[in-house]
Amino acid sequence: MSHFDPEKHSCLGSAIHSWDPRAKIVSLLVLIFAIALAGSILPALAGLCVSISLVLISRIPLAHVAGFMKWPVIFLLPLALFLPFTTEGDCLYSFQFLSVSRQGLFFSLLYLTRGVAAALLALLIVGTAPFTVTIKALQEMGLPASLTQIFLFAYRYVFLLNEEFSIMSRSLQCKGFVRRSDLKTARTLAMAFAMLLIRSYERSLAVYNAMLSRGYRGDIPIPGRNGLAASDLFKSLLVLGAAFSIMAK
């Protein structure tokens, strides 16, 4: 995670980047749900094509997309590999006690397609605007202010604390600590976690005092935003149209 920068490509000048964040989030979320609930392969594949086209339009480098897509594939693979064997149905191929069923293969492909398409769209939501812009758009649409602030702070400090923990790990290594499968490793890391928690707790008190001295009273002002432009509505209309045609199939 140390070289991880989710906002690296958040300021490219594509049609997705210039889309109003509120319209973008709502339209893409509707599309994600439409794809994730698609009942058969064809609409799911159509959804995947729409997702890939949108990613191409966004001009996010494909290497970044591939690195990002590693995890959903890892999470979906166990399901996708098991289902062909464990689903009852017409036997396509059998080897000793294992048999691949047509229905199982169908479900496996369906889950994989829906999962990958939905993950690509999630990448578009966060990858095409700075996180603060996205989360403030959500607040404008009704996310409670307290939750918005927890999001902003937690996001900000995840990177900093990760840096801090890697320094602590390095200092443990310098003192001869090696991670093994034993109780001592578990206890040592538990102490390190506890220390990280104490540091972050104490830091939070300092952060709060610093905020108070700058006039914090419990909410962060959000800058006013103009109404939606015709181009925002047009983009939303296109994406929502795709979502409804996937749902209708």
């Binding site: 991880f4 369906l110 206890r187 538990a190 830091r203 914090y216």
Partner: protein, 208 residues
Amino acid sequence: MVHISDGVLPGPMLAAGFILTAILLYYSLKEIKAEEIAKISLITAALFVASLVHFPIGPTSVHLILNGLAGILLGRRAFAGVFVALTLQALFFQHGGLTSLGVNALNIGLPALLAWQLFEYRKNLASPRRETIFGAMAGGMAVLASVLMVSLELLTMGEAFKEISVLVIGVHLPVVVLESVVAGAATGFLANVKPEMLAGGNNGSFPR
């Protein structure tokens, strides 16, 4: 595998997950004070970072969930912390997904609240190591509960998911033990060094 990805669960279950998560979020954030926000956020971020650390188990490695520890530290606010952490994970690391966010938040967050309740019982035990003992119990129980919830949800999907449900429980049993050791040791350490950090601690920094 404790995170359920997009595209797997049926619509009604996703909807139920979101509704229950919204209710628990409301309960978790009720009467929140301005000074709590920074604390909840930083502890959530620290637990997030710690959960990314890999533990070697034989030839493979696992990472912790730490939802029990979240309950022990944040009390009622733990559900909001879990929700925020899972959303960040779904968005930036693609662990889990946006459509299954409600169900996933319930799977991890509800056991966090149970862990907090279990940890409260430590007050009935007159032992200098009661935080370690109850921390270990709460930490292990929280992961076990999460794994059982995931497994049950997969089971409701039909006969074909039986083997996967059993597999999910099987591969997570070592995590339950590990999590219990880590949560116990960390809670014992915190009870000695900074007892006010524990939920319902000396100054009650997080309301019960």
